[in-house]
């Protein structure tokens, strides 16, 4: 069976629908009203400004990480370390927020720059371990994730502990000037939103119009041939990791500077790993990433509300997104179901 072009374009929707059906079946199983539940999860937030802003505040770091991952995935790199890169970013921003005394715009500028540098450094480390130490980026990334997490715990409990005494919960709240200006009473910062939109443009140009993007693409598809065509795999690998690390670091900064107002333990909340799922669900297509990312934010926020209103556990949102990714991996490619693509032959 041959799939027409337009249908192929919309194929990513198919696993989403499949996962929704799965969730509806699950809701039935638990005796919940699927319609009402889905309504609470998906539609209710749109009626409530506070909820929407909360979704958007979550969307920003998730999208930033996903954008960075798009770059590393293009280069064929499984950058699991994005989680740690994000944590490092939050540490960098926290460091400035806790130690520097300056006007707000200087502080915020410094925080963002240092956060991006810290994330990039963590990414570069994974890249360097791969190119010079033959440590696969998955394992290097996992190790560095743990290390980043330990480092943040140490800082919270040690040097950056609140004056009233150390705890593992978090640092004291940052000075007001260090925080990103936020919209209304929410945790959503318009600056971070603008930066994310800029990042989307940057990644779009990097991947589609820069020579660097082309080199990454070649590297990701066939590293050997790319090397023979003159692409330096080592350099590009490290650059790609740094690029992703910088965006993830920015995401980390947004987390501490607008979501928590201080450095907390488990600052990333698994957003890095979630971003991997976003990119997979978006089938590595940039223009889908912001939407999938929004959808994820919506579902995860909605399931929290769901728990409050019904007795269903909030992990339902996690189940839904997880099932979706599994479905995408199972039959994300139309060809796996026996469809053939429309390809013109030039024989």
């Amino acid at each position: 069976m041959i799939l027409p072009r337009w249908a192929e374009r919309f194929w990513p929707v198919v696993p989403i629908i499949g996962a929704l059906l799965f969730i509806i079946a699950l809701l039935f199983l638990f005796g919940a009203d699927p319609l009402e539940s889905l309504n609470i999860m998906f539609l209710k937030p749109f009626e409530n400004q506070a909820k929407m802003l909360s979704v958007m505040a979550f969307w920003v770091p998730l999208t930033l990480c996903a954008l960075g991952l798009l770059v590393t995935f293009t280069g064929g790199l499984w950058n699991i370390g994005v989680e740690g890169q994000m944590i490092l970013g939050s540490l960098g921003a926290s460091w400035i927020a806790l130690t520097v005394d300056a006007p707000a715009f200087v502080l915020i500028f410094l925080e963002i720059i240092v956060a991006m540098l810290a994330g990039a450094l963590w990414g570069a480390l994974t890249g360097f371990l791969k190119t010079h130490g033959k440590v696969h980026e998955i394992f290097g990334g996992l190790a560095l994730n743990n290390l980043a997490s330990m480092l943040s715990l140490y800082l919270i409990a040690g040097p950056w502990q609140p004056p009233e005494g150390g705890s593992f919960r978090g640092t004291p709240p940052f000075q007001e000037a260090a925080l990103l200006p936020r919209f209304a009473e929410s945790r959503f910062s318009p600056i971070s939103f603008v930066l994310t939109i800029l990042a989307i443009g940057l990644v779009f140009f990097a991947l589609n119009n820069s020579f660097w993007g082309l080199k990454l693409k070649a590297l990701g598809k066939n590293a050997r041939s790319a090397f023979l065509l003159g692409v330096s795999s080592e350099r590009e690998t490290i650059y790609a990791m740094m690029f992703c690390g910088a965006l993830a670091g920015l995401g980390g900064a947004v987390r501490v500077l607008s979501w928590f107002d201080s450095l907390r333990q488990n600052i990333s909340g698994g957003i890095g790993y979630l971003a991997i799922l976003v990119v997979m669900l978006a089938a590595y297509r940039l223009l889908l990433v912001p939407f999938i990312s929004f959808f994820f934010s919506l579902v995860l926020n909605g399931s929290l509300t769901l728990q409050l209103k019904t007795q269903l556990h909030s992990s339902l949102g996690g189940i839904l997104t997880g099932v979706m990714v599994l479905f995408i991996l199972l039959f994300g490619e139309a060809s796996k179901l026996g469809f053939r693509k429309e390809v013109e032959k030039d024989e």
Partner: protein
């Protein structure tokens, strides 16, 4: 066992690997199956041993038609194949490996098996220690083991595919004497697949010669080598007159180059190649030509010696540095080494170009690609991806990606898989590059191509560049003898 192959055909796309081959083999004899690389020997033997099915034709064992769905089925019927690279599972112990191939009962009877194996090993004078682990054995020992497995499996017919590649002289002697014993004393049928004339002369009773998928002749052995060479390589081709070309300064100098790889050591290469010169590297596959090409390209670092390009010492330079200096290398595997399947022709062009801008000007790049693919007659659009092209067009694309003004071009099997017309055309393009002062070094399994296209020929055998001859002063059979390791 009497073996007969009747009208065997096997096509891979347009390539006729086996084209109507019929042979008949008597028990108690050793047969040689000769032919150059790609003549169809291995394909025929893989069909006989159940490794792959024929498109048409019949296999008769003792005059009964048989059909093997798998190598195990063929072994069950008495046909055993010893592969070039024994296909055992390395981390197993020998006994386990042996049981794996043979025992299909639930419990493993080690004691009987050990006795069985030891008996076979002493009978044929093998030396393999059956308690050792496979990954500690040499290729020759693994081969003996594989033979033991086939013998215990009840093989009546033994097919040996290039068995002497990579084993020591002593192991070769043991192998040959066991083969003679098997054939002449025990009445087994042996088929030796080879392109080495002296081995066939030494061991075989009768030889079949394949060329381009067809059975082109047979002869009882011993017979004059000339006769076999002529059958293997065909008539001496009439050489076209090539325009004489005034050679320039040395473009590439190799001074006492020694290269050491895990497969082969290439030693003491001294060669001076001039601008505009075409050098063909002749030799059996894996005799060191490929390693030398990769060394010049900067992909392999030589152990000692110097690689000098246009007066510049590039011995220690990386592949990318050499490439920027004007040393181009085209590997044989197109989609594995050279092209990126899912990238478009324009994207390939952009990557291969010597200078790059930070941002890509797509319309301009498309235009440049269009004119380049027109020049190289690649059938495809700038937007086509490399894997959408046919094999021949992929090869043309590979050549189209070579930038102008190169100092040295290194080619592995430049025209493999191309028809005669494309072949001529590719060479015309290459000759045109002499005007730029480009020196060309290529390796090929096709002796005709080497003779016809080169100015000089460097002959390789076993990692040694045994001689360098002027192409105009040798004939195809002389060259055949040289690469077969004979004087």
């Amino acid at each position: 066992m009497h073996v007969e192959l009747k009208e065997i055909r096997k096509y891979f796309g347009e390539v006729k690997a086996n084209d109507n081959i019929s042979v008949s083999l008597e028990p108690g004899k050793i047969y040689g199956l000769l032919g150059e690389n790609g003549a169809g020997k291995s394909t025929l033997m893989k069909i006989l041993s159940g490794y792959q099915p024929q498109d048409s034709g019949e296999i008769l064992l003792d005059h009964k038609a048989v059909d093997f769905p798998s190598p195990a089925a063929a072994l069950g019927a008495g046909l055993g194949m010893l592969y070039q690279d024994p296909l055992d599972i390395p981390p197993f112990s020998i006994i386990d490996n042996y049981l794996l191939g043979r025992d299909n009962r639930l419990s493993l009877d080690y004691r009987t098996v050990i006795a069985e194996m030891n008996e076979i090993i002493t009978r044929y004078g093998f030396e393999a220690d059956i308690h050792a682990h496979i990954d500690t054995l040499s290729l020759g020992e693994r081969q003996q083991l594989e033979l033991v497995r086939l013998l215990a499996g009840g093989a009546q017919v033994f097919i040996l595919d290039e068995p002497t590649t990579g084993i020591s002289v002593e192991q070769k002697d043991v192998l040959f004497s066991s083969m003679r014993k098997l054939a002449h004393e025990e009445g087994k049928t042996i088929i030796l697949v080879s392109h080495k004339l002296d081995e066939v002369q030494e061991l075989c009773d009768h030889a079949f010669v394949l060329r381009r998928g067809k059975l082109v002749g047979q002869s009882t052995i011993p017979c004059p080598n000339e006769k076999l060479v002529e059958m293997m390589f065909g008539q001496v081709p009439t050489r076209r007159e090539r325009l004489p070309f005034d050679l320039g300064n040395p473009a590439l100098e190799l001074i006492n180059v020694n290269i050491s790889t895990y497969r082969l050591n290439v030693s003491n290469i001294n060669l001076q190649i001039f601008a505009g010169e075409v050098i063909g590297l002749a030799g059996l596959e894996g005799s060191g030509q490929g390693i030398l090409l990769r060394t010049i390209a900067g992909l392999i670092q030589p152990e000692s010696g110097q690689v000098v390009v246009s007066g510049q010492d590039l011995t220690k330079s990386s592949y990318h540095k050499s490439r920027n200096f004007g040393v181009a290398y085209c590997a044989a595997g197109r989609l594995e080494e050279g092209l990126v399947s899912k990238l478009s022709l324009t994207e390939h062009m952009l990557l291969a170009e010597p200078t790059h801008t930070f941002m890509i000007d797509w319309p301009a790049a498309r235009e440049r690609t269009n004119s380049r693919i027109e020049q190289y007659q690649v059938v495809g659009q700038p937007e086509s991806t490399a894997d959408q092209l046919s094999g021949g067009n992929q090869q043309r694309l590979l050549f189209a990606l070579l930038n102008p003004g190169l100092k040295v071009i290194l080619l592995e099997h430049p025209t493999r898989g191309l028809d005669v017309r494309s072949m001529d055309w590719i060479w015309e393009q290459m000759y045109a590059r002499r005007e730029d002062g480009t020196a060309l070094v290529f390796m090929s399994a096709d002796l005709d191509e080497i003779l016809e296209r080169s100015d000089r020929i460097a002959v390789f055998s076993g990692g040694v560049m045994s001689r360098v001859v002027n192409a105009s002063e040798v004939s195809v059979d002389q060259l055949g003898h040289m690469i077969g390791g004979q004087a």
